[in-house]
Symmetry: C2
Subunit: 382 residues, 2 copies
């Protein structure tokens, strides 16, 4: 057999658990007979695997459906939303967030704590985040849920479990491994927000998610997978050059998109995004001009991004979502004029469906993906 | 078994042929016993598969080596360079090219015909190309080689076997399917040049290949695979915006890289790249200033490309290869200044190892990859 290559019994069983759970996730609910047919495994094997998955609380049995075998009805097995959940965490520049999501991608809990994390002490912030995580886990457990793993979204570059550089936090080389006593992962917020949009925003499988925060990042999803580049640093849209001899950017470059369209520039002296939105709604000229300039710059940077990345569509998220009505025109104009000859039509430009929760949802979703992909390893099944 | 899913005998055999040939290609030469151990197939199955591969001329037996089984020597099976070859073809703006490459990636034949293909009649050019292909195939056959398939590199966008748009040729929606009576593929020249650089330029598996021609394209290779984007249009480096209100570009945009660093701008009134190089060598001020401006623009566009694509290194090819000594400084300066804070060091900047043949070699190489990946289908083995 092609796939054998000296596979041991345990790892074969682990793979088969993943095959069965994957099939339930992708196209379930299914009867055991239908699962046997879909996976090519014997019915005895499927029954034994399903018993393990039931025991672990990742699947559940519900009512009779018409099964695969000669149309006889059978008991359908589907993903369970009642037991296994994952924890998403986020350190943003101006808040900490946590959420608990079950295997059916229903959000069970959401917690946000406003905070000013700029140039902050990592130890202090991680202490606050650890408290938030503990409280959220305790609350989930009180509801009878079992938290299997956690992931953290950070506004910076990540290597393993270390936050390499988060310029707006003022953090460099901060290890975050021991935050919770659970399987743990950490990733860039724009990457996780793109995955959050994919899994929770009812998106197609191909898009560029643009995360407008104090920094601007982007996550490219192609055929349902995140494109990460060679070192995991792809998608730094905020430092695409808009004007080569423009104002200096904190990155050492000049005229980067972030200088023209980052949250600090959008807000100017205003205190909050909601204040900006009310000014835009009331027709404040200054606010509208700022948005127009930002939209113009975003149109230039996204033109370069479309030429290089060839995304299926463009999704504006973060702070760009509430100001979308005022950004859309200038961005679409720029893309239309610059891209028309090369592409017929530029990619569709839409507003994010997940709002400010995209990254923290993506973090929880990433651990759900791991459970689906490697149930034996993550859940400790034999 | 996980991989079974109702696989029929024929398709199982086809897969196993691919597994065995793939192992020989990746890590051979191997004895049959070693192949059985590496693939998990029985020795009887391996022997029968190897017999088919020998018969088809894709592998060959050579001398005794120490095999996998208790160190006993056996006859090693390796890829054969003596029989099966593929044909690479290229339509460039100012030449047509063909090459024949064997399975060990040795170039057996190379033919180039200078031509002025700007705003040309597709039918006429394809007629010339068909003649060139026929002559090249005849020559290969006279040497006892068997041409298994062909691929064509074109300076434009491609969909299936149709050249959608090649602005410098002045072609639009040209079907190229019946060029040769062989399995056939067509792809963008920058994509194929990147693959040519990967397979024939002794490159690492991660780099951005920049194809400097009359148009400027790029092909990103990540972990040995070409990144194509959602619609296969990724890597259009030539239209990354360098100056948002710069001179109009033929694409409808303004201030694109191509305006500052395309071959037409580099040459100005000069007749050829070699004339440009001699002027640069003799210290001609105008030629040096042109190169410096081009290098500056290339540094800006590549900064945006590095932020978005995160390549392992940057390889300058096409016309940028002969003028590399004069481009390298300004490009590296731009990348260094703009990327230093974000990345520590910018990606290494190197000159292409394949020169002007990158695309036509990549075309031939693409068919070799198909033979390795699907020997049963491509070679018609049962």
């Amino acid at each position: 057999m092609v796939a054998s290559r000296g596979v041991r019994h345990d790892s074969m069983r682990a793979r088969n658990l993943a095959v069965v759970l994957g099939e339930i996730h992708r196209s379930g609910p299914h009867t055991r007979a239908a699962l046997a047919e879909l996976t090519g495994l014997t019915k005895t094997t499927v029954s034994s695997l399903v018993a393990d998955l039931l025991e672990a609380g990742v699947v559940t049995e519900r009512g009779a459906v018409r099964g695969g075998e000669r149309g006889r009805p059978g008991v359908a097995v589907s993903l369970s939303g009642h037991r296994v959940v994952t924890l998403g965490l986020e350190i943003n520049i101006d808040y900490l967030a946590a959420c608990v999501v079950d295997l059916t991608r229903t959000v069970r809990l959401r917690r946000t704590r406003p905070a000013d994390n700029r140039n902050s002490d990592p130890e202090h912030i991680l202490h606050l985040l650890r408290d938030l995580a503990k409280e959220t886990i305790a609350e989930a457990e009180a509801d009878g849920l079992r938290v299997i793993g956690a992931a953290l979204a950070v506004p910076g570059t990540v290597e393993g479990e270390t936050l390499r550089s988060a310029p707006h936090l003022g953090w460099r080389d901060v290890r975050v491994g021991d935050l919770v006593d659970l399987p743990f992962a950490i990733d860039n917020e724009a990457n996780l927000a793109a995955l959050g949009e994919l899994w929770f925003g009812a998106r197609e499988t191909d898009f560029l998610y643009v995360s407008g925060e104090i920094g601007i990042g982007a996550g490219l999803v192609v055929a349902g997978s995140l494109f990460r580049g060679t070192f995991g640093l792809a998608g730094e849209l905020g430092h695409v050059v808009v004007v080569p001899d423009g104002p200096a950017c904190r990155c050492g470059g000049r005229g980067c998109l972030e200088v023209y369209a980052g949250q600090d520039t959008l807000l100017g002296k205003l205190d909050s995004v909601s204040e900006l939105v009310s000014r835009l709604e009331s027709g404040d000229r200054r606010a509208r001009e700022t948005c127009e300039r930002a939209g113009h710059a975003l149109g230039v940077a996204l033109t370069s991004a479309v030429h290089l990345l060839d995304p299926g569509m463009i999704v504006l998220g973060g702070v760009f979502a509430p100001v979308f009505p005022w950004l859309e025109g200038p961005v679409a104009d720029g893309l239309g004029t610059r891209l028309a000859h090369m592409r017929g039509a530029p990619p569709a430009l839409v507003v994010s469906g997940t709002g400010p929760d995209a990254a923290v949802l993506g973090a929880a979703g990433m651990i759900i993906q791991r459970i689906i992909a490697e149930p034996a390893e993550v859940l400790g099944l034999q």
